[in-house]
C-alpha cells in the first residue's frame, strides 16, 4: 500500500510481483503497518553486513550471511532485548561478540541497579560490553564492513547487528492527515479507531495508554499488537470491545538469565514527579533446599504515602520472569503493596519458597512507603 485517499475511501496498492498499481476502495480501513528499526544516518551504514532484525525475512537474510561467510567478529549496537538476544545467538555460534550501548547498563527498561545484573550475566557469558559509548560510524573496505567506530575506540567487525529500537511505521498515515501522538504513533481511541472516520489502527503503528501514569504511551510489543488487533477486529466485525491500555510488561531471556519488568521505572517516576520507595530482595525460585533452586532478585516500586504499587522488575534464573505477571495484575487492579502481602498465590517446594519472592519484595516495600 502506497497511499491513503481517505476522502474517497480508497488506497493505492502496487502488486510487487508485476509492478501494477491499482486503487482499492474500502468501507473500513485498518492500519497495521507495525514499526521499523531505527537506522543511524552514518556513512557506511548501507553495507550488507550491517543488519537490523525486525521481520522474519530480515532474520532469514541475517542467517544466510552468517552461514555463508562464517564471520568471526560480531558487534551488536544497542542494549535492548533484541540486541541482547542477538548477542547471545552470535556467542552460541562461536563468534567473538562485543556490544556497544549508550546507556550505563544494558536493558534500560530496567533501573540501573537491576540492569547491572543483566550486564554482568552477559559478561559472564563472554560478551564484551562497551557501555556509555556512542556509535559514530562504520569502517568499510571496498563496500565490506571492517569495523565499528564509537566515540572512544574502533572495533574490528565482520558483521554488525543494530538493535537501536524501533519507531512506528506511520509515514503514509501522516501523509493522509491521520493525527499522530506519542513518538509519531497513530492516535486511537479505546475501540482502536483513529481520528479519521472509517480508519482504524492497531499494533506497533498505534498509540496506547499507560494505566499507571494515566498518559498516552508508545510501546512496540507483540503482546499489545495481538490484543489491539483483537479489539479492532471484534469492533470491525460488529461486536463491541475496548482496549483500556497497558502497564508496560515485558519479559526476555538472555543466556540462562530471565529478565522481566512492568509498570513505571525510576527514570519515568522522576519525570512524572511521583515520589516512590523501592525494595530489592534476593530469594530463590524454589524452596532453598531443592536442587535447581535458582537465584532471583525482585525490585518493587511503590508510591510514598499511598503505598500504591508503581512497578517491578525481576532478574533471575529459570522460573523468574513470569512472576512479573503477579505484579502486572496487581498494577491493573490498582493494589497497594500492603494489599499484595495477602495475595493468595500458590506455594509448593518445586515452585517457590513459602513466601513468593514477589510478595517478599512487596512486604519490604510496604515497610518503606
Amino acid at each position: 500500500m502506497e497511499e491513503i485517499d481517505s476522502p474517497r475511501g480508497r488506497v493505492r496498492v502496487r502488486d510487487l510481483q508485476n509492478n501494477r498499481v491499482v486503487w482499492e476502495s474500502y468501507d473500513q480501513l485498518l492500519l497495521a503497518t507495525g514499526a521499523v528499526p531505527v537506522c543511524p544516518d552514518l556513512p557506511g551504514a548501507d553495507a550488507v553486513e550491517i543488519c537490523g532484525v525486525n521481520t522474519l525475512q530480515s532474520g532469514i537474510e541475517l542467517r544466510r550471511i552468517l552461514d555463508d561467510r562464517n564471520p568471526k567478529n560480531g558487534i551488536v549496537v544497542g542494549g535492548g532485548y533484541i540486541g541482547l538476544e542477538m548477542a547471545e545467538a552470535l556467542v552460541r555460534r562461536g563468534m567473538a561478540v562485543s556490544l556497544v550501548s549508550r546507556s550505563p547498563e544494558v536493558m534500560k527498561t530496567l533501573d540501573p541497579d537491576m540492569g547491572h545484573l543483566v550486564s554482568q550475566a552477559l559478561r559472564d557469558f563472554g560478551v564484551t560490553l562497551y557501555l556509555e559509548e556512542t556509535l559514530i560510524g562504520f569502517e568499510t573496505k571496498s563496500g565490506k564492513i571492517t569495523g565499528v567506530v564509537t566515540d572512544r575506540r574502533s572495533l574490528p567487525a565482520d558483521i554488525v547487528i543494530l538493535g537501536l529500537g524501533v519507531r512506528p511505521n506511520t509515514e503514509l498515515a501522516a501523509a493522509a492527515g491521520i493525527p499522530l501522538g506519542e513518538r509519531r504513533s497513530i492516535r486511537v481511541n479505546e475501540l482502536m479507531q483513529t481520528f479519521v472516520a472509517g480508519i482504524w489502527a492497531a499494533g506497533d503503528c498505534a498509540e496506547t495508554f499507560h494505566l499507571v501514569s494515566r498518559k498516552p504511551y508508545y510501546l512496540a510489543l507483540g503482546t499489545i499488537a495481538n490484543r489491539q488487533g483483537r479489539v479492532a477486529g471484534v469492533n470491525l466485525g460488529g461486536g463491541s470491545a475496548t482496549f483500556p491500555g497497558v502497564v508496560g510488561t515485558a519479559v526476555t531471556k538472555i543466556c540462562e538469565v530471565e529478565v522481566a519488568r512492568t509498570g513505571l521505572q525510576e527514570s519515568e517516576l522522576r519525570e512524572l514527579g511521583i515520589e516512590w520507595a523501592s525494595a530489592v530482595i534476593r530469594s530463590r525460585t524454589k524452596a532453598g533446599y531443592l536442587p535447581g533452586a535458582g537465584k532471583i532478585t525482585v525490585k518493587v516500586l511503590a508510591e510514598k504515602g499511598s503505598g500504591r504499587l508503581l512497578g517491578g522488575q525481576i532478574v533471575g534464573m529459570e522460573g523468574s520472569a513470569k512472576r512479573i505477571d503477579t505484579l502486572a495484575t496487581a498494577l491493573h487492579a490498582g493494589f497497594t503493596v500492603e494489599e499484595m502481602i495477602n495475595l493468595d498465590v500458590g506455594y509448593a517446594p518445586p515452585f517457590s519458597p513459602v513466601w513468593d519472592p514477589v510478595v517478599i519484595a512487596a512486604r519490604e516495600a510496604a515497610k518503606l512507603v
Binding site: 500500500m1 488506497v11 496498492v13 510487487l16 482499492e24 476502495s25 474500502y26 468501507d27 473500513q28 480501513l29 485498518l30 492500519l31 497495521a32 503497518t33 507495525g34 521481520t55 522474519l56 525475512q57 482504524w200 492497531a202 499494533g203 506497533d204 503503528c205 498505534a206 507483540g222 503482546t223 499488537a225 495481538n226 489491539q228 488487533g229 483483537r230 479492532a232 477486529g233 471484534v234 470491525l236 466485525g237 460488529g238 461486536g239
Partner: protein, 44 residues
C-alpha cells in the same frame, strides 16, 4: 446492497488478529489484507 469491505494493511500480529476476528464475527464482511513482505503472521 453490496457487501461491506474491510481493507487491512499489514499482515502480521495486529493485522491478522483483526482480520480473523472480524471475519469470524461477520462472515459476510469482505476482508482484504495487503502485506508487502513474503510472510504473514510471523511474529506473534
Amino acid at each position: 446492497m453490496s457487501t461491506e469491505r474491510l481493507i487491512v494493511v499489514g499482515g502480521d500480529a495486529a493485522g491478522m488478529s483483526a482480520a480473523a476476528q472480524a471475519k469470524r464475527r461477520n462472515p459476510g464482511l469482505e476482508v482484504v489484507v495487503f502485506e508487502r513482505g513474503p510472510h504473514t503472521s510471523y511474529s506473534a
